[in-house]
Amino acid sequence: MSVDIDPRRRLALAEKVLLAAEQAGATEAEVLVLADDSALTRFANSEIHQNVAETSATVNLRFVVGKRVAVVTTGRTDNDGLVALVDQAASIARVVEELEDWGGLPEPQPITEAEGGWSEATASASPESRAEGVRAVIAAADEAGSVAYGSYSTGAETIAIANSKGIRAVQRQTSAQLLTVSMAPNGGTGYAEAVSVDVDRIDPAAIGREAAEKARATQNPVAVEAGEWPVVLEEYAVVDIVDMLGYLGFSALAVQEERSFYEPGRRIGSDLVTMVDDPNDPNGLPMAFDFEGVPKERVSLIDHGLCGEVVYDAQTAARAGRQSTGHGLPAPNPYGPFPLHMVMSPGTSSREDLIGGLDRGLLVTRFHYTNPVHPKLCVITGMTRDGTFLVEDGKIVGPVRNLRYTMSYLDALAGISAVSAQRKTLKGFLGGVVVPAVRIDGWSFTGTTEH
């Protein structure tokens, strides 16, 4: 490893740049250092076809003169690169328009270290160990007569922040992810995924077996009609609902720009729906502070079906006249704050209970290529993928071809009639999530396809 991810030295680098920015005339300044050492082994057709590693470091400088704000980023951490960074930021900040409602950089607050966010095993994972895991997935597919596809990634990251208000924050974190699609003859496909801070907690053979067994069970799928169906969504599918709610609704900026469905206390789900953003959940991917150095708060997003709070960064908090909840992203950030550690509360049902409650419905493994059709109504379209089954009288009858849906995820929340006790830690597009499986009384399928 050539990139230094030592926390103290990364924080020292941030402080060095901060001092230079202040000497260059910044009235406020913030330096964010991100150092990353990551690798990914990718496999297809039951062989490794891509195997990559990356070491990188970036320095992000927010340079403020009065209310004039400039952000400059560099990947050059040598002295010349850092001098150029400060010069460029200073020159931009002197000529840009004032940000009228600039709320200032955040003030320091006590930060409690996030427990369980680092694993030496993950940080030191080798290409040989990832290849060994991939071979276990492939062996499971071979045994089931299917073909394995997927990726196995490991990474370590250090985040260091220093600002002119006195924030000095540094943390390091690791994550590992193994995902696989198994493909069997006659159209069978299955999916499985595991995510953890600690790569040693991932069992590649078990992940391989889960996907391969599902691929075997989905061979020769039959067509069913689109329309309104009761469904059971496995955890892999629930990730998308949680992600879209966080993306479209629970950001303070979305509310301030009147594009969110969010209203305090509004009922958007059944009593069974409770969701928080919890950076300290031991099942998730812990994080102590955000990319502005503000300690991350646990925020109640949905409480028994009722809208709770939204998340704030420093700028949206200033506009609202309150404190940041610690959900800022690296500057500049026109997209606003996001909940990056969403956790949905478990219920009491077993998988058998969920499926057993369907007289005639569909069991959905996961969704594919989802996209908002109407953001404010949270209407989403997407496809099912990698394992969709017809259920009759509480029993799985057999596999069905994939379907397109177009429906409001708020209606989906309102229709949740059962939640599993067991949950999975997975990765969504906003970060690590912890989700259960759910049964939903009505799901609007609007189209069919050929497989």
Partner: protein, 482 residues
């Protein structure tokens, strides 16, 4: 730069690599965002590093670093060969590359005004002026006016003696006006959702005339709040270039990526229905009017370059000819598997990513005869759909569904009533076979997207699409509006 590339190639060879290439990439980017009349963010970023790709025992390895020293070149090249050896422990078919002459030379995006020399204050003033026009419209709740530019200096060297240097510049800008009332929210963008982008200089930004177009689009956004819903049904539709390019992107560009066809994206974005047996059988992809070419030489396209990222010269590759499926986007590894030479479509997102088969400029060729306006005039009853709002397509690229920002009712050859929340859906080849009119050169424009996602770790690609408008019959519209 030679000291880095030579060192990496020498070390890879000494460690047992049968082939190696190295890319040294410096990327400069700047962006400006104005929201609702205020400057929201100004940023500039620089990234520099190198990536080494090697073949050892028929398996790939890749490593990268942003520390540009000869010693680091040694370390990274050695790590890449170690990774390749690990890959070889789970290998069933050795990689074989097609042959090509060593790539040598220099390429640079032609431009008139270097965007990085235009002062920030000038760019900001022009964005603020456009934003102000949109905000004059009553009912607009927020606007977003953006500008971006990217320049890459890219040096490629390979163990076969190739050595190329390229300087590629892309610029883009756009304005979005958003209106909201109760649960309804509507957006109109100009020139395109996400802005208009080209391989060009600042002259392209000036040519967009953001200020002159902002007000009209903002008024449409407000009008859409109370416009009738686009009702479900089967209709004749005309796609404006601002939507047609994304239809080409999703339903022809991605499914003709040969790595996807061979399964290497199966666990992420999926596979493709356009399998190699369909190429051999002359599969009818669309009507006779449909000819689609992957052209890495097209002026202004964000998929235009001198050589791809494994040293294959830019070229135009037919994908669909008069409706018949005839070719793929391909690489040196995949093309020989169908008995062809690489079409030069390997592109990487910076120094720290491995090249993948990516779109270049996937262009729907114009058809002499009617302009887009004349196609509208030729339509008795239909819908005219413009500016993408959302997109989705299944994992074999068959069932798609798009939403656009706006639909206009066409009656008697004239565009009239605005319709709210339009969507349309179909099966790819059925849809393209239903095309009964394609615009001519007069409506042929180069568009593109700077955010095409593919691969793990994720890569964002800049791709181009030159398209005219086109008409399709018997298309399901208004999904979810019943």
């Amino acid at each position: 730069m030679r000291d880095i590339t030579d060192r990496a190639l020498d070390t890879a060879a000494s460690q047992g690599a049968s082939y190696a290439d190295v890319r040294v990439v410096r990327r400069l980017e700047e962006s400006i965002a104005v929201k609702s009349g205020r400057l929201e963010g100004v940023s500039s970023s620089e990234s520099e590093g190198f990536g080494v790709r090697v073949l050892v025992d028929g398996a790939w390895g890749f490593s990268s670093s942003n520390w540009l020293t000869p010693a680091e070149a040694d370390r990274v090249a050695a790590e890449a060969t170690r990774i390749a050896r690990a890959s070889a422990t789970a290998l069933r078919n050795r990689v074989a590359l097609d042959s090509r002459p060593p790539a040598l030379g220099h390429y640079e995006t032609p431009l008139d005004i270097d965007p990085f020399t235009v002062p920030f204050e000038t760019k900001i003033a022009e964005l603020l002026a456009a934003d102000e026009e949109a905000n004059r419209v009553k009912g607009i709740v927020y606007t977003e006016t953006t500008y971006g530019a990217q320049r890459e200096w890219k040096t490629f060297a390979a163990s076969d003696g190739s050595f190329t240097e390229q300087v590629i510049t892309h610029v883009g800008a756009g304005i979005e006006s958003n209106a909201a009332s109760g649960d309804e929210q509507q957006r109109r963008s100009y020139p395109d959702a996400g802005g208009g982008w080209q391989a060009a200089g600042y002259e392209y930004i000036r040519g967009l005339d953001l200020k002159g177009s902002a007000g009209v689009r903002a008024e449409e956004a407000v009008a859409l709040l109370t416009a009738p819903l686009c009702q479900p049904g089967r209709r004749t539709i005309i796609l404006d270039p601002s939507q047609l390019y994304l239809q080409v992107h999703e339903s022809c560009g991605h499914p003709t990526e040969l790595d996807r066809v061979f399964g290497t994206e199966a666990s992420y974005a999926g596979t493709s229905f356009m399998t190699t047996d369909l190429l051999e059988s002359g599969f009818r992809y669309g009507s006779d009017l449909i000819t689609i070419v992957a052209d890495a030489t097209a002026p202004g396209g964000m998929g235009t370059f001198g050589w791809d990222d494994e040293g294959v010269a830019a070229q135009a590759v037919p994908l669909v000819q008069n409706g018949i499926f005839v070719g793929y986007l391909s690489s040196r590894e995949t093309a020989p598997r169908i008995g062809r030479q690489s079409g030069g479509a390997m592109r990487a997102d910076g120094w720290n990513r491995i090249p993948l088969i990516r779109m270049t400029n996937i262009n729907l060729q114009p058809v002499p005869g009617m302009s887009l306006d004349e196609i509208v005039a030729d339509t008795d009853d239909g819908l005219y759909l413009a500016s993408n709002r959302s997109w989705s397509i299944d994992d074999r690229r068959l069932n798609f569904q798009f939403a656009t920002e706006v639909a206009y009712e066409i009656k008697g050859g004239k565009k009239g009533q605005l319709l709210r929340n339009p969507t349309y859906t179909g099966i790819t080849y059925e849809f393209w076979r239903s095309c009964d009119a394609v615009g001519d050169e007069r409506s042929y424009v180069m568009l593109g997207t700077p955010n095409c996602g593919k691969g793990e770790p994720s890569q964002t690609g800049h791709v181009g699409h030159a398209v005219p408008g086109a008409r399709f019959t018997n298309v399901q519209v208004g999904v979810g509006n019943g």
